[in-house]
Symmetry: C2
Amino acid sequence: MFSRRLLNDQDVRTVSQEERVHRSNGDRLAKILSDRQLAQFGDSLLNFAYSLALTETSGRPKGTKVQDKILAEAAVKAGLRKHLPRRVGRGDVANSLEALLGHAWLEKSLSLDEIVSCLKASSLNPAENFTQLAELALSRIQR
Amino acid sequence: MFSRRLLNDQDVRTVSQEERVHRSNGDRLAKILSDRQLAQFGDSLLNFAYSLALTETSGRPKGTKVQDKILAEAAVKAGLRKHLPRRVGRGDVANSLEALLGHAWLEKSLSLDEIVSCLKASSLNPAENFTQLAELALSRIQR
């Protein structure tokens, strides 16, 4: 009975530690995704990478801005939405993807070449490449 | 008399070939500097490189757009103005520097690291770093 109880206590402690680590990871990701300065940096990175992908695909120089609509759609598909506060606008959802990519690039988890080649993939829906990119960043960043 | 005349003819031909090469180089540069698509690509490159330079200097992520005023001032200082049509606005002068940098980067005459380290130099006048960058690009591009 004693040993069984002890075991239960250990189980509970283990679960609760895992839960704490899980929550702390979630908090860290939530903090990254809501960082406005990181989103502004990520914006300049993604506009350049997307311009480069279009330039390399078309063989003609292109300079463009990625639409918030596309980024927000990709952020939702990649599961970033649940880490954001409930009541946020489309701009904030788009920013979360920019912040994630800015963070991944700055910590060298993703290279410019990797980002560009992800964005060069031919997809029917342009948000699809950004979804794949966000999923790649999520799998790579240190948590 | 005959040989002297022949020599003169050769001299004239040589000078005129050099002049033609010189003019053709000038035409090529003028074409690059007035290429709007190249300027749009260069805009995304310079905004990213400048954001990165500010991020690395401050130790905090920054995302920013370089002001046309700064780019136009640097373009004039680097001697790009004389290759542009006489009556152009400040936006077009700024574009010429963006086009030059976009071209230099696409033909791999300048790396992102080189651009960023040029923009990280501490200058009293922010246009000074862009002037140096334009001069570096001019010395590197294939003409």
